[in-house]
């Protein structure tokens, strides 16, 4: 019997306590950010959109190997001796012509693993986060500017997951 | 002009529909619905007569009791029907024939 009334009292009391808290919050400042009007300033390390400065790319393919989800596709061909030497902005000579540098952003897992091994730091993740597109196909980013001179080889493509040999 | 007879005819119709339901339906709950129709028809009678009675509200008082009894009756009947369902997994009256066998 005593317990019965204690339970009733406790119910009412804890409900009142809770109501006190919500009442207090009714007048605290909201933490919402009004997104398109106010904008988040992302820290510089933010990993959002991949960008490749193709001019600096030496076609080493380290990023392709590092990518755990195989979303980077690269085709290169050797520059012939007679072509004028090309240098990346940090002075690295570019021996390969990158005829295809595609990143399928719809597959990217934003792990950043591709950018670390890049010797010329041309592949970076930018803090740019508004890159929605109307068509999913547009998530295939094609960076390569050079057209292939040699007959095209089949693209380096590893389906995910790769079946065991 | 609506007169007493109209109400009585309405109640007669309800009563016979109730009797029809009671006689023809196999489902116990459905039979209960027929019984409710019968009780309602009697209540219409009582209240109609009360409207045209010379003194007092006897008919209405009686009707109140009928409503009360109807509620109690339905509660008990449904309890029995529910028990039957638990035992036989059906409420069809033609399955309730163990007693005849």
């Amino acid at each position: 019997m005593k317990e019965y009334f204690r339970d009733i009292f406790q119910s009412i009391w804890t409900v009142l306590l809770g109501m006190k808290i919500t009442w207090k919050h009714l007048f605290t400042r909201a933490c919402t950010m009004q997104y398109p009007d106010q904008r988040w300033v992302l820290p510089e390390r933010s990993r959002m959109r991949l960008f490749n400065k193709i001019e600096d790319c030496i076609g080493c393919g380290q990023c392709v190997r590092a990518c755990p989800v195989d979303c980077i596709y690269m085709t290169t061909e050797k520059r012939t001796k007679d072509e004028a030497p090309v240098f990346a902005s940090d002075g690295t000579p570019i021996k390969l012509r990158v005829t295809q540098f595609d990143i399928d952003m719809s597959l990217c897992c934003y792990c950043n693993l591709c950018t670390y091994p890049c010797p010329t730091h041309c592949l970076v993740m930018t803090p740019e986060y508004e890159f929605a597109v109307y068509s999913k196909q547009d998530f295939l980013y094609r960076f390569a500017k050079d057209k292939p001179v040699a007959p095209p080889k089949p693209a380096h493509h590893t389906p995910v997951p790769e079946p065991a040999k | 002009m609506i007169t007493l007879q109209h109400y009585l005819l309405l109640s007669a119709a309800l009563f016979s529909l109730g009797v029809f339901g009671v006689l023809t339906r196999k489902n116990a709950v459905n039979v209960l619905m027929g019984i409710e129709l019968i009780l309602n028809s009697a209540n219409i009678n009582l209240i109609a007569f009360s409207r045209y009675s010379s003194h007092g509200l006897d008919g209405q008082m009686f009707a109140v009791f009928v409503i009360v009894v109807a509620a109690a009756e339905v509660a008990v009947a449904l309890a029995i029907v529910l028990t039957m369902y638990r035992l036989l997994k059906t409420v069809s009256l033609d399955r309730a024939d163990t007693l005849r066998r």
């Binding site: - | 196999k26 709950v29 309602n40 209540n43 007092g56 309890a79 028990t83």
Partner: protein, 165 residues
């Protein structure tokens, strides 16, 4: 024909029509929901007969109590999720004949008899009913409460799962 008459005709039609659905419909659940309209129609008939308290009681008890009980009865006594709760009928023709005979005789009685009747104005009934309950009808009132108690205990006893002997 006055407005009153028209209303009565409509109400009577709805009442009888839905009552017919109750007893004729092959779907149990339709029968149950048709009862709603029957009960409501009857309540409106009460109002037209000047029994406003009775009308409210009718709605309260029949719609709020009995109909819900019946609905629960329907749902608890069938495989819950079987949408076509079809029920069978038997002895359709004899039943029809008997019902017709009953209706004819009741209708005859209703129309042929000289009922005792006086024309009197409609008056509010609630207070009178209240007084009657406390005076002339005190005993039935008390007996009705015992009846309800017995029904309550009995019904609870019957549906209780464990018989805590």
């Amino acid at each position: 024909m006055s407005v009153f008459d028209i209303v009565f005709c409509i109400v009577a039609l709805v009442t009888i029509g839905s009552a017919a659905i109750v007893v004729l419909s092959r779907s149990l659940i339709y029968s149950a929901f048709a009862l709603l309209f029957t009960f409501f129609g009857v309540a409106i008939v009460y109002v037209m007969l000047g029994a406003d308290f009775l009308a409210a009681t009718q709605v309260l008890v029949y719609v709020g109590g009995i109909l819900i009980l019946l609905l629960f009865g329907v749902m608890l006594t069938h495989r819950l999720y079987n949408l076509n709760l079809k029920t069978e009928t038997f002895q359709l023709i004899p039943g029809l004949l008997i019902a017709l005979a009953v209706f004819t005789s009741l209708a005859l009685a209703a129309t042929q008899t000289h009922w005792k009747r006086v024309e009197k104005p409609v008056a509010a009934t609630t207070e009178t009913i209240g007084k009657l309950f406390m005076e002339e009808y005190l005993l039935p009132f008390e007996i009705a409460s015992i009846l309800l108690l017995v029904a309550l205990i009995g019904a609870a006893m019957l549906v209780r799962r464990r018989s805590d002997a």
